[in-house]
């Protein structure tokens, strides 16, 4: 849902689209192969980037970003992965300025992404 919302907002503001990098980080490296990730993201935008890695690397990335680490329940092919649906917005100053939980409306993205794009190291 969030990827669709963000894609829609970026489509509305082409200048913002050029300045924004959307990075989707998988927490299920077993199923999310690079091909699967690419196919999934292309449904929203061919500019969106997908990242995956080993289970340890992805766990370390989640901890570094202060995201509750994903947990795997069950065994065999029907295992499920419980994970947060957060989107973390980083501004041009390189800092994560906002965390958006599931349920964030498109109008919020529309407003916030434009504001975040103006935050640079110089603007404080």
């Amino acid at each position: 849902v969030h990827l669709a919302q963000i894609a829609e907002v970026l489509e509305q503001y082409p200048s913002l689209e050029r300045e924004t990098a959307v990075v989707f980080v998988s927490v299920d490296p077993q199923r999310d192969t690079p091909e699967v990730l690419r196919g999934f993201l292309d449904k929203f935008s061919t500019r969106f980037v997908g990242l995956t890695g080993s289970t340890e690397e992805l766990r370390a990335a989640q901890v570094a970003a202060d995201v509750p680490p994903a947990t795997i329940t069950g065994q065999g092919p029907d295992y499920t992965v419980d994970h947060s649906g957060w989107v973390i917005a980083y501004a041009p100053d390189g800092l994560g300025h906002a965390i958006y939980p599931f349920g964030t409306r498109q109008s919020v993205w529309s407003n916030d992404l434009q504001t975040l794009a103006t935050i640079t190291g110089e603007s404080g």
């Binding site: 849902v1 669709a4 919302q5 829609e8 509305q12 349920g103 409306r105 498109q106 529309s110």
Partner: protein, 266 residues
Amino acid sequence: MITWWCVALEKPWTWSWIPYPGIWIATLLPIAGYLVAVRRHPRPIDWRRLALFLGGMAAFWVASDWPLGALGAGYLASAHMLQFLLYTLVAAPLILLGTPEWLASRLTSRLRIEKAVSWLGRSPVTCAVTYNVILLATHAPATVEVLRRSQIGSFAMDILWLVAGMILWLPVRSPLPEGRVGSVWVRMLYLFLATGVVAIIPASMLTFTTNPVYAIYELAPRVGALSAREDQQIAGILMKLATIPVVWTTIGIMWFRFARQEEARA
């Protein structure tokens, strides 16, 4: 647990059938009541009226039940709009057309609303205002958000739409002849104004707003390739354009009947 009426499910959409027994009961009870009443009545069954009534109830069932009811309750604004149009422009007028005068009279007098229904049918302004107030209220984002999340709320919205449709069509086609607007010109003008003016506001809002207005459809798992905004735009276009064929066909029929009567009189 049995789900009685279509409600927002908050899980990915699948084309797996879901039973909604409340909808079957709400569809079959009036049909059974109608059939018992016409069989007991001394006059022979009017098959044309029976077909119209069954057509109206079929439209009610299609609008309420899976898949359209489920899609409209929690996935697509366009399905929600299609439901509204089916209730108000198809089910309601067909039910009114299919109800014989003696049955309408008996039913309304038992419910002690005969005078109120007759008065309402002769008051096109009241009907137009009531219909449009319901239209605006039930398409307000807050109303959709609250009502579609519970079975009772969802049921209330669907029934309210059917009632709104009946109120809309009363001045034109009330089963009680004394409860209709007499002048054909007033009827035609009424139908045009009641359906074509106020609806432009929500229809334009849905078509031209940059962001989705209904949280329930925006945050629902997507159905097919439609984005939430495209889905909302289809809803807006449907709201504006779908009334045109129904209303103008009705106006055309009224006009030709009137012209034929005048010709015969001359």
